[in-house]
Point group: C2
Chain length 145, copies 2
């Protein structure tokens, strides 16, 4: 997966937003760092290149890029938030509340569900990434033990 800087920039400007070096650098950091990128990891990355870039900006820009559907938010097992490029092949998580395991869920499983939301509720579910919490094979029975 790669990303089209020019197109993204054009899109942002068209919506009245500005393309700043900070935004570009932060987006680049998420891209380079791969999946499940934490704000702190982004900060470390960009801080090396732009020492004055503040933590507040990292948080703000990650949130902003998520709103613009350029990034996707990922709820991690430890309850923290992470981010990744939204354009990547969608994959979802089953997170076990008991053992904190993370299972990947193929996107195909979500298709029909999303379709229903779309047609019946006119709500476009953001399927860049979803996390479902629950209990995995090993833990689902051991609760009442």
């Amino acid at each position: 997966m790669n990303y089209n800087t020019t197109e993204i920039n054009r899109q942002l400007r068209k919506s009245g937003f500005r393309v700043t070096p900070q935004r570009q650098l932060i987006l680049d950091a998420v891209y380079k760092l791969g999946e499940h990128v934490t704000p702190e990891a982004v900060y470390d990355y960009v801080h090396r290149i732009a020492p004055t870039l503040s933590r507040a900006t990292v948080y703000r820009v990650l949130h902003f890029l998520t709103e613009q559907r350029i990034l996707a938010m990922v709820y991690m097992a430890d309850g923290h938030l992470a981010y990744e490029m939204a354009g990547a092949e969608p994959h979802h998580h089953l997170v076990c509340r008991t053992c904190d395991s993370l299972f990947e869920l193929p996107h195909s499983v979500l298709r029909s569900f999303r379709q229903t939301m779309d047609t019946q509720y006119d709500f476009e579910i953001d399927v860049s990434h979803l996390s479902f919490f629950g209990h995995c094979t090993d833990c689902r029975d051991s609760t009442g033990a």
Copy 2:
């Protein structure tokens, strides 16, 4: 909706956990405060009754009771977490990333999806509460404008 203190206590002890006044008070607070109860609201409530009960305990207990499936976690539109009794009639949220609106989603919509996860992945999705992020009717088209 009411809750069965005796049964909950029995269940906890059976699993080797302890029933403390703090846990009971916090559970009671969530029950009394209703839906979408924030940690801070819980703290305010319990602090009046038990001034030494610490914030750390509030957070720990809320997390703990969620693990025990006595409470359910709710992702609010502003990104914060809230809690509510897990035994209540399940309802879910569609949260618009653009305008932060919250739409209620009847539980019935989730039935077949949950079934699929259960049979095909042997994963028991916690359906006490789910939040889906995306874009509502009013906002879904206005993105590229």
